[in-house]
């Protein structure tokens, strides 16, 4: 009786564990249908796969390992799958693109670190491991993005940055409605996102709250970057310099004499200590060598 009980308990425990571990493994991606259907405007061929491989080696290999070899980083949970696996290859291009844009758990998002072109190229590389894959090209014309203009307007009174996005089609200007817009300020190492990611309204306008206290250069210049991504026109990026930051004129860390500076700008105390020690020791050595000559001379005279 007792034994039977134990066996039943163990079996239940086993089933529950198996169920949960299955759950973890089989957790697939929940991609909105409009994103799922997105396709690349770049045609995948050997060249794109090749440049995609470079992107992969730099950004993905440390976790996913070599594609096809299932030698990814085993210490992560969940483990990064081998991207040549059927499970991954069954995902649509749009789903892969979405995964790269959003990330999940240990999988980082690459939306702001890789350009759209590089993201498609790395997908092209992943697809090169799938013989059965047939590409469906997107209808977006990448050259269309060149028609788009982003105008930035800063309102100093309300501290708001207003963006209007217009495509100058041959038939006349078209405003970009419901396009995703992001605003950044350039800084050392990358960009700082301002406010949230928003969408343009029906007039192609988007308004961001802009902080008052961003440090600019010596006269307060900030480099502002706007990024728009639209279903039809693709991704558009635009940069301007505006004098809306706080003037910051910090002396460079390498301007003055310092331990960390170049030889010419070494601190005086080091120069003086070092050279005087070397000189003193050198002087004594010269003295000793002179003594040796004296010894030799005395012997020669007698």
């Amino acid at each position: 009786m007792f034994r039977k009980n134990i066996i039943i308990k163990i079996t239940i425990a086993f089933i529950i564990t198996a169920f949960f571990s299955l759950q973890l493994n089989a957790q697939r991606w929940d991609v909105p249908s409009n994103k799922k259907a997105k396709n690349s405007y770049i045609k995948f061929d050997n060249n794109t796969a090749k440049s995609g491989e470079e992107v992969y080696t730099k950004n993905c290999k440390s976790c996913h390992g070599d594609v096809g070899k299932a030698n990814g980083n085993k210490t992560l949970n969940p483990q990064p799958p081998d991207l040549s696996s059927t499970l991954t290859q069954e995902l649509t291009d749009g789903e892969l693109f979405y995964i790269l844009n959003t990330g999940r758990n240990a999988m980082p998002n690459f939306k702001n670190t890789l350009s759209e072109e590089d993201r498609w190229k790395v997908i092209s590389y992943i697809r090169s491991f799938n013989k059965k894959y047939v590409q469906v090209l997107s209808k977006t014309d990448p050259s269309k993005s060149k028609l788009v203009k982003i105008n930035m307007n800063f309102n100093a009174a309300t501290n708001k940055m207003n963006l209007s996005v217009v495509a100058n089609e041959a038939s006349g200007p078209v405003v970009l409605k419901d396009a995703e817009v992001m605003l950044f300020v350039s800084r050392y190492f990358g960009k700082l996102q301002i406010d949230k990611t928003i969408r343009t309204d029906k007039d192609g306008n988007a308004t961001f709250n802009f902080p008052k206290d961003l440090p600019g250069d010596s006269i307060g210049n900030l480099t502002i970057v706007a990024k728009v991504s639209d279903e039809i026109y693709g991704e558009i990026e635009s940069q301007t310099k505006l004098t809306i930051g706080v003037p910051t004129d910090k002396p460079s860390l390498t301007a003055k004499r310092a331990i960390w500076n170049v030889l010419k700008l070494a601190p005086w105390w080091i120069i003086i200590t070092y050279t005087s020690i070397v000189l003193i020791v050198g002087l004594f050595l010269v003295l000793i060598v002179r003594n040796l000559f004296r010894i030799s001379k005395i012997g020669a005279q007698q």
Binding site: W260, L285, L287, I288, I295, S296, I298, G299, A300
Partner: protein, 435 residues
């Protein structure tokens, strides 16, 4: 005046080892063959770069740098025996001064080469001189080691000048060029009072000068570590800790050399049991000082166990480096101290074995100082293969590490075949005084 026969005996005794015998040729042949094998390993490193070693991004200082620290350390003994003991009037140490000085010179000169061996692209060494910054302890180290080599050379050579005269006049069977070299090196020595005065004064100046420079070489070497803020190195006692440790390994090296010279060159009348007894006591003294610094270096952070240090110290005390750590402390320091307290152990043969343990311990102690810290950076090591995280020296690397050790043996053996290793003039003077 000392009777002529006694002087003659001293001279011929002390010059007797300057000849090429079968044993020497065999030993030298063995050394040179092993050296060539190691050099072959070095050539593969020159060809393929540091990839042939176990070094990498994280552990970039391994056996080579441990070796370097060991070499600089061992070379410090020249200063202690020939200068500090000499200046303080400890006459017993006089016959050992030249042995200590030869060891000092050999280790210090080769230490420079060890650094070059740690470079994947040794031809870029020139950049240290072209673009070196005097703010960097590395530049100070290059400077101070060079100074030490120069001063040690002079301190070895100047007391040799009167002996060169003996070598020139009293050796037979030596080739003609060697005789000419002896003559040139003797600088027309006639032993006049004036010459003696200049010579003694020069030795005195050098003996004083070498003290700060010797302290300097090992203090600066310790600063190569202590001036970075890494766990295990970020310590304010690293200077004296290294210097005291240096005397331990140096004393051990001198004891080994005394033993070998004494038995193979028939110097039992000159290197006596009294010398061994005194050296043993000196070794106990410096070992106790070193033990005291060890206590400070490991007990104080071990008591606090600050976050990052804790990880490092656990690895040393109970983790993957524990066996090495405790072996070094126990067999290289504590047991030798205890053994040498007994009179029976302060005899040549037991001391040879004890000194070998101390010297081996000293080498691994440097390893324990260099490698575990490299394995514990502040920023966690992530997403790299396991082999990147721990350091495992390769065979090639071990052979290359062995090369400078063999080179030191070659130099020490070679010098002792060219020059009398017990100062002749001083020994004669000593007998005259005590007659």
């Amino acid at each position: 005046m000392l009777d002529q026969s006694k002087t003659n005996k001293i001279t011929s005794d002390l010059l007797s080892h300057i000849r090429l015998n079968y044993a020497f040729k065999l030993w030298m042949g063995f050394l040179i063959t092993s050296f060539l094998v190691c050099m072959y390993a070095y050539i593969t490193q020159l060809d393929k770069g540091l990839a042939v070693t176990g070094l990498g991004d994280y552990v970039s200082w391994g056996m080579y740098i441990s070796n370097f620290v060991f070499f600089v350390a061992t070379s410090l003994i020249g200063m202690l025996i020939s200068s500090v003991l000499g200046l303080s009037g400890a006459k017993w140490a006089a016959p050992l001064a030249r042995i200590a000085e030869i060891i000092a010179l050999a280790f210090a000169a080769v230490a420079g080469l060890v650094i070059v061996m740690d470079m994947g692209r040794p031809e870029r060494l020139i950049n240290v001189f072209l673009y070196g910054r005097i703010q960097s302890p590395i530049t100070w180290d290059v400077t101070v080691v060079t100074c030490y080599v120069l001063i040690s050379t002079l301190l070895l050579y100047i007391p040799l000048i009167p002996d060169m005269k003996y070598c020139y006049e009293k050796t037979d069977n030596t080739p003609k060029i060697l005789k000419n070299i002896y003559k040139a090196l003797s600088l027309n020595w006639i032993g006049s009072d004036e010459q003696k005065k200049i010579l003694n004064k020069s030795v005195l100046i050098l003996s004083i000068l070498i003290i700060p420079v010797a302290l300097g070489i090992h203090t600066v070497t310790s600063w190569l570590f202590a001036s970075t803020s890494r766990t295990g190195w970020d310590s304010s006692i690293f200077g004296p800790y290294f210097v005291s440790g240096a005397f331990v390994s140096g004393c051990a090296a001198v004891i080994i050399a005394m033993n070998v010279y004494r038995s193979s060159y028939n110097l039992k009348d000159y290197i006596t049991e009294m010398h061994f007894d005194k050296m043993a006591k000196l070794l106990v003294l410096v070992s106790l000082v070193y033990l005291y610094f060890n206590l400070n270096e490991y007990m104080v952070p071990g008591y606090k166990m600050k976050k990052f240090e804790a990880m490092h110290l656990h690895e040393l005390f109970a983790g993957s480096h524990a066996i090495l750590f405790w072996s070094v402390q126990v067999f290289g320091l504590i047991i030798p101290i205890i053994l040498l307290l007994f009179k029976k152990m302060r005899k040549p043969s037991p001391m040879l074995i004890i000194a070998l343990f101390v010297l081996l311990g000293a080498w691994f102690k440097r390893y324990i100082i260099v490698v575990p810290t490299m394995e514990h950076p502040f920023l966690p090591i992530q997403n790299v293969p396991f082999s990147f995280k721990v350091y495992t020296p390769t065979l090639t690397e071990s052979l290359i590490t062995l090369a400078p050790i063999i080179l030191v043996l070659i130099i020490v053996t070679g010098l002792s075949k060219l020059f009398p290793i017990i100062p002749i003039q001083e020994t004669i003077d000593h007998y005259e005084e005590t007659k």
